[in-house]
Every structure is written in structure tokens, then in C-alpha cells.
């Protein structure tokens, strides 16, 4: 389907990954308003172009944040945040 570049394992078939979607900052549940929480839960930018997104690599068992162009499925090198992005 598409080739995903894991910062630890290198390029692998997308079947070796679990796609979690575009990365968005999670509001603090203790202080967030209902409106903001529902917006976080349901509304999506659904970008046509470059976006940061979270993938889980089943080979190295890490969550990684990668930057991909949703129009062309190209990945931008190097990955922005090799160990971050756990959500």
C-alpha cells in the first residue's frame, strides 16, 4: 500500500504499522470546557497536504510521529520527533 519510514527500523510496508491518525494536542481533561473536549474528540482538520501523524511500529513497538503528504503519501525526511508523539 505505502512505504512508511520508521526512524528506528527504516522503510517498511504499512502493514507493519498501526495508523492512529493526525496528531493533535490533547486538552487537559481537568480544566477543558465541554465544547473544547468535544471539538478535540470529533472535529478533524483532515488536511489535504503535509500533516504530522502518529504511527505505531509493530517491529520496534514504538509510537512515532511522522510527517506525510496526504495527497501523495510521501513522507518527509527526517522524522520530526523520533520518540515523541505517544497519545
Amino acid at each position: 500500500m505505502l512505504l512508511v519510514v520508521c526512524p528506528h527500523c527504516g522503510p517498511r510496508d504499512a502493514g507493519d504499522f498501526h495508523y492512529l491518525g493526525a496528531t493533535s494536542p490533547r486538552p487537559d481533561p481537568a480544566t477543558v470546557t465541554e465544547q473544547a473536549w468535544r471539538t478535540y474528540l470529533h472535529l478533524r482538520a483532515n488536511v489535504g497536504g503535509w500533516q504530522h501523524e502518529t504511527w505505531y511500529c509493530r517491529a520496534c513497538r514504538q509510537h512515532v510521529v511522522l510527517e506525510r503528504n496526504t495527497l501523495t503519501n510521501e513522507f518527509r525526511d527526517p522524522p520530526v520527533d523520533p520518540l515523541g508523539g505517544v497519545r
Partner: protein, 440 residues
Amino acid sequence: MHRRGRGEGGLLIRRPARYSALGLLARGLTGRPWPRLWAQHELRRSYDVVIVGGGVHGLACAYYLAKEHGITNVAVVDKGWLGGGGSGRNTAILRSNYLTPEGIRFYDRSLQLYRAMSGELNFNVMFSQRGHLTLAHSDAALRTMRWRAEVNVLQGVSSCVVDAAQVKALVPSLDVSPHTAHPIVGALYHPPGGTIRHDAVVWGYGRAAAALGVELHQQTEVGDIVVEGGDGPGGKGPGGRVTGVRTSRGDISAPVVVNCAAGWASTVAELAGVTLPITTTPLQAAVTEPVKVFLPAVVVSGSLHVYVSQTDRGELVFGAAVDPVATYSTRGSLEFVEGLASNIVQLMPGVARLRLLRQWAGLCDMTPDYSPVMGVTSVDGFFVDVGWGTYGFKAGPVSGEQMAACIATGRTPALIAPFDLARFTEDRLVGEKGAAAVGH
């Protein structure tokens, strides 16, 4: 053969000839060419309504605006060609055996409109109500089927649960033995379901809308939506008011803009400063070489993520679940074909030697509750008919009819009230997940 009417500015415009057996005979004998289904126009500077997206939803909306409400100063704009998106990429299956009462009422109205369509549009859409079987491979699935059948019958829709022997009698090519990996234990049988020629639906609506005065503009891409007085950047967003669109062929002023852009709905809505609860994900489909007709019904297996029907030409048309990654790319994959082949051979071992002719992908605008988003938005004059996921084609006629009523009367019709955009920020999601054709 041509009826002539007066267009804008007193110019004579050609209305398409009515299709009839006599007309067919006359053209056959004289050899005169058939007239085009719709005329091409210069883009004007202003319209009462601009509809973004020339698929079945946009064209049906334009048709019902003109026919039911007399609003004919309408432009349908599409960045590609009519029916080139989801309307031409779906597997053309129609059904109304949903799970929630609001879902069933809505899709049943669409099926009624589809039944009357060939006559109403004077265009053969080849609707074949051959019956629709959703296979159950477990007791849990059978329980859900029974639930769906009961709710269907309560809403006046024909559905019943059948056992494995009845499934075999309806579709002899299915393997119903108990020794398969996913034995068929029964099915939800929905006799009114069937298939239709999807291109004909698009062309029929386009031709009928054009005959009523609607202008169809292909290869006209909307680059911006002009909004004034909103809270967001550039005066867009909540509280604003639509005044027009900028397209690749010029600017248009219009008080009403309707987003019927399906997979591209989020990118169009963003131009008006509206964020939607949508993720765009491709769904792949494939078709085999044609063989003698052997499959009398539409067969769906939720557990095996596959649905299949046979066209009038004899090809088997397969669809599956959406791809696991959000993307706007419509490139197909080998994984899809491999998974599809493995699953379909489990259901129908007899098709193992059939060759696939081609595969393709369509973009699905998926919402969190597997239900559409229809009606007004926080921007005055900006309407949406989006979030159609994997079930948009069968809903085309009713969506067009109800959206036209919503736009023309300024009130949201009861049939689409449960599907408003505000439900996502007011926690009123619709629980239709259980009735999606295959698992998502």
C-alpha cells in the same frame, strides 16, 4: 424532436428530446445524432445557488431545487467531470436495511425515489431489485441481524432472517457447509435491495437539471469561498455570511453555497472557515472478467469484509472495508486484492479461477458516528451535504430532495434533522455503526 423554450435574455435554448421508443425508431431510421445531455455555458458572474461537487448528491440537489422549488438560477461546479468521484467509484448497491429508525426512514425514502427514477428522469437507470443478503458467521452476528430485521419491519421495510439452507437456496454458489473457517449460519435477507447503473443516475440527474435551467460547469475548481463578518481569520468562520466563490474560471457572487464535495468536503469547508468531523479514507473495489450470470442477489459478509454483486454484463463487482490509513490518494494496493481474493474464495469457491479486470479506489468522507452531516453550518448561507462515508451513493436522491427543501424553505426537514453538524459539539451522535455494510 426538440422542444424549444426561452432562456435568459430571450435566447432560444434547446431542450433535450424526450427519450421514447418512437424517438429511438425515428433516429435509427434517419441516422440523426443524439443531442448532448446538457449544454455548456460561460460561467456567469452571479447565481442564486452554487453547488460544489457534480456527483449524484450535488446534481440531485440542483434538480430538486429547480423542480420542487422553482430555483433554477443554479450552478453546479466540479473540479473534474460529472460523476468522477464517489458517484462513479461505488459498487452501485442500494438498500435500506439500516439499524436506527432515523437511518431506515431516510434510506427507504431514497429507495422509493430510485424506484421511480427511470420514469421521472426519462432516463433508464437500470435499477434491479434483486435482493440483498448480509451473511452472519456467528450467533452474535445473527442476533444483530434479528434486531435489524425487527426494526426494519417496524419501519415498514421488508427484511427477514433466513437460515443457512435458505441462503443456499437463494444463492447456490455460496459455500454454506459448517467446515469453512467462517461458516455461514444465516443471513439478513432484504428483498428490496439491489443494484443500479451509477453513471446513468448521474447523467439522468444532470440532464434533467440542465433541462430545467441549471448550469453544469465541469473542470471548474473552487479555490476560495468568500465569507464576510465571521469570527475567524479573513472574516470567515462562525457568524459569517457567504457572498460567493472564487473558481479557476472566474469569481461568482452567490448568497448560497452548498458543499457536496464528498471526499474533499473538509478542504472545501475549510475555505469557508468551517471544520468538519470528517476523515478522508479510500475504499477499494474491483471487477472481474464477465461470466454467465450465476449470482442472483447482492451478497455481503461483514466478518470477511467483502460484498459482491454481478452486473448485467456478467462481471462480479467487489467492494471491501475502507483502507486503514487516511489519505486523498486513490492509488490501489496489492494487499487489497490479496485479501479480497482470499475472502471471496472462502465464500464462493467456484470463482477461484476468475480473473480480475481492474481495481480502483474512491474517497470516503468518514464521520465518527457513521452517519452523514447535512444542513446548515455556523456560516450563514453555507450548507453541507457531506460525511457520506461508504453509503453516499444509495442516499443521493433523498439527500438532494431534502437539501433542496432545506435551502429553499430555510427550515431543516425532519428527515435530516438528526444529521445536523451541531450534534458533534452537543453530544447527540447517531448510533449507526452497527449497520455499516462491512466492519470499519
